[in-house]
């Protein structure tokens, strides 16, 4: 593929940002991204894509309120009802058509505007089949975690190790909302939400805005000293039916993975990637996703996590940014948070978190319950 990331910009991630509106935050992220890319929003950018969902925002037809603060007035703008990585995939396709040279992608969370996150998430359940139970929608994660632990003999302690690692990683990420030095016991003994899932197994919500600028090969070489190339992309949705799912594995990731690895010609993922940023909406999800991405043998991710394999100084660093658990759950924005970290690392701009000689990275996303949709991207600093 011939598209590169040439600019990144974001706000810091915080649990509450009452003093500024989402528009003012988006403006900040956009200004930074365009400056980083060296582009003029009003002259150079052909198309803008926002990843958003109406009910997260409390607006119907949210794209109404997008163009002004992105410099996108009277330009090609659209919403992608998916996560930030899906918007990035669609932006990449737009460039690949030959229609645009430069495209901007935006994804965000203004979760603090929601007073009833739980009620809103419940509204995503199938109205006829799944709402009548009157259970918090995290029951889906409880069911899934139970089945995953059962099938793989992974332990709750091993899942907790993911939380400990990611929150500790976040201590060196100045953007992160929830850095902490926590123990496995604290995770296990925190309030039970939906057995075996505890409060600390769940990523806490944060506000944050991220803008990424993409460019065609020609434009990227012209504008950027350190373009990060998109080598492979895959995205997929599995069945929306809770009643028909494979509860133990992340099937959507398998399908997205195959497409992305094929395009990027990845044959031995563990050897060819230097690190990965994968979705960790819930602790066990990181393990499930690592297995689906063939970064370890099926059922072995928990043991490896416990042994420190995925630590920043381990053999294969995972979620050095802190992931959702440490940096904060940015809703559709978390997928771009993963990309953001990959770009920092691949540029060699990750400061204390820097992974030495990082050349090729993997970013993977999942939209959270009740969905079975996610994306995979292969990124590299070598064309």
């Amino acid at each position: 593929m011939t598209v590169a990331i040439i600019g990144i910009g974001c706000t810091s991630f915080n649990s509450v940002t009452a003093e500024v509106s989402f528009k003012e935050q988006m403006f900040e992220a956009a200004v930074k991204a365009y400056a980083d890319a060296g582009v003029n929003a009003r002259e150079d950018i052909g198309s803008f894509l926002t990843a958003a969902e109406d009910y997260w925002e409390g607006y119907s037809i949210f794209d109404e309120f997008v163009p002004d603060q992105l410099g996108a007035v009277l330009r090609s703008v659209c919403t992608i009802g998916g996560d930030g990585l899906l918007a990035l995939a669609n932006g990449t396709m737009q460039i690949e058509t030959g229609l645009f040279d430069v495209v901007a992608i935006e994804a965000h969370s203004k979760a603090s505007d929601m007073l009833t996150f739980d009620g809103i998430l419940t509204h995503a359940l199938d109205p006829v089949y799944n709402r009548a139970f009157n259970v918090h929608p995290y029951f889906i994660a409880g069911l899934e975690m139970q089945r995953y632990l059962h099938e793989t003999k992974t332990t709750r302690e091993q899942c907790a190790a993911v939380v400990v690692k990611n929150k500790r990683n976040a201590m060196d990420n100045p953007l992160a909302a929830f850095p902490a030095d926590m123990t496995v016991d604290e995770v296990i003994n925190s309030t039970m939400v939906s057995h075996p899932l505890t409060q600390r197994d769940i990523s806490p919500l944060a506000d944050g805005m991220i803008v990424i600028v993409l460019a065609s090969e020609k434009k990227a070489k012209e504008l950027s000293d350190h373009p990060i190339w998109i080598k492979g992309l895959g995205w997929c949705s599995d069945t929306p039916w809770l009643e028909a799912r494979d509860w133990g594995a992340a099937g959507y990731t398998n399908l997205a993975r195959d497409r992305a690895y094929k395009r990027a010609d990845i044959k031995n993922p563990r050897k060819e990637f230097d690190f990965a940023e994968v979705d960790d909406y819930f602790s066990y999800k990181e393990l499930q996703h690592l297995e689906a991405l063939q970064l370890c043998e099926p059922g072995k991710a928990g043991k490896l996590a416990e042994a420190g394999e995925f630590n920043r100084d381990g053999a294969f660093p995972v979620n050095v940014s802190g992931g959702r658990l440490g940096a904060g759950n940015l809703l559709e924005g978390s997928a771009l948070q993963s990309v953001l970290e990959c770009v920092y690392q691949l540029r060699g701009h990750a400061g204390k978190r820097q992974i030495k000689n990082a050349k090729t990275a993997l970013a993977q996303s999942w939209r959270g319950v009740p969905t079975a949709s996610g994306c995979v991207a292969v990124l590299s600093n070598e064309n």
Partner: protein, 389 residues
């Protein structure tokens, strides 16, 4: 500008459009998708990717409703994207499908648009309460029709357009819809019927407005080489354009839809159309309100500013006129399940350009333009379709 791959339409499907249909959103999506697949002679296995277009979640009453609908749209275990630009979505979904294929990433794409407005109570209008800015507009308790009435009035005032001329659009479109089997509000009416129907929000009367509806439509897109394997009569999606204007609509002059003009110019340039009124054989501009058809004709550069009403009164835009507009019957006649209404227009272009439109057939249809519009009078989406030659 060199587009990597040319994109063809090779199949289309549509359900009935009605105020209420018993089928769920998933089921409506399935019926439309399945009909499109059958018409192309394809199975779901031959589909590489799926694009869903559906408007506010508040209608169906499901957060992230595209996730819920995806199995009905044939997207299980497939790359699936939900694209969305409010009311403009119906003509935008094929644009989303277009870039899936034109980019070389996929060979085929099933585009499905669904809308089920009837679950929303007390009225689908209630869902529109939340399209307004919560801080500067919602405290005024606005009704969606306000903004259209304000825009319509501005358009009438600037050009001195009499209401009778605008009413002619309803007469034409509801009449055209008599030949459309999906149609919800096909009727033979007169200009007086429109003028004498009850005032909703002055200057908008009841017969100036399209109804809330349930319905779904689907298209199958394919790359040029793949399209030829399935059909001898592909229809080409040769031009796409979209543009979104500022949310601060009270800071804009509403008399002319700049965003539509911008989108149209983008699409015409790609389709190499230099003289739209001469080169376009028929158009399906978005007509949720009578004046919008006229406003959009001007935005599409098919009429000079302020001249579209005159063309309508003179019969130029009738199905047998020089420039047929909304031969399908449009939203005013066929119905307005928001996203599906826009895609219905693209289905119409497909059938017209394959000479399959039956009684609705426009003579010598070579190039058709479809357009939708939405948000706070803000977005224009345009597709240019051409007959295979």
């Amino acid at each position: 500008m060199n587009i990597r791959k040319r994109v063809a339409v090779i199949g289309a499907g549509i359900t009935l459009y009605r105020r209420r249909l018993k089928e769920s959103g998933k089921e409506l999506s399935f019926y439309a998708a399945n009909m499109a697949l059958e018409s192309a002679g394809m199975s779901r296995n031959e589909i590489d990717s799926v694009v869903m277009g559906t408007a506010p979640d508040a209608f169906d009453g499901i957060h992230m409703k595209s996730e819920n609908l995806l199995d009905g749209a044939g997207a299980t275990q497939k790359p699936y994207t939900h694209v969305y630009v409010g009311g403009g979505t119906g003509v935008f979904a094929p644009i989303g499908g277009w870039w899936h294929i034109a980019s070389g990433m996929h060979d085929t794409c099933l585009v499905v648009c669904e809308e089920k407005m009837s679950p929303c109570f007390p009225h689908p209008q209630t869902a529109f309460r939340s399209i307004w800015d919560p801080i500067i507009s919602r405290p005024l308790n606005p009704n969606l029709v306000w903004i259209f009435a304000l825009e319509m009035h501005r358009y009438m005032k600037v050009h001195g357009i009499p209401k009778e001329h605008i009413a002619q659009v309803a007469v034409k479109n509801k009449g055209n819809a008599l030949d459309h089997p999906s149609a919800q509000l096909a009727a033979k009416i007169t200009v007086d019927d429109v003028l004498n129907s009850e005032i909703m929000v002055y200057p908008v009367n009841r017969l100036d407005i399209s109804p809330p509806s349930d319905g779904a439509a689907a298209l199958i897109l394919a790359s040029e080489d793949v399209a030829r394997k399935y059909t001898d009569a592909p229809v080409w999606l040769d031009g796409v354009g979209w543009s979104l204007d500022s949310a601060y609509w009270t800071n804009r002059d509403l008399y002319f839809p700049q965003y539509v003009a911008k989108a149209a110019k983008m699409a015409y340039k790609m389709a190499k159309i230099n003289d739209p009124p001469q080169e376009v054989s028929f158009a399906e501009p978005y007509d949720p309100f009578t004046y919008k058809e006229l406003h959009h004709m001007e935005g599409l550069l098919l009429a000079e500013k302020g001249q579209a009403p005159k063309l309508t009164v003179e019969g130029v835009t009738a199905r047998d006129g020089d420039l047929p507009i909304c031969p399908s019957g449009g939203l005013l006649g066929v119905g307005n399940p928001i996203a599906a209404a826009g895609l219905m227009k693209c289905c119409e272009a497909f059938w017209q350009l394959r000479d399959e439109a039956g009684k609705r057939q426009v003579p010598k249809a070579e190039t058709g333009v479809c357009q939708a519009w939405g948000d706070l009078m803000q977005v224009g989406t345009v597709c240019v379709f051409k007959r295979d030659s």
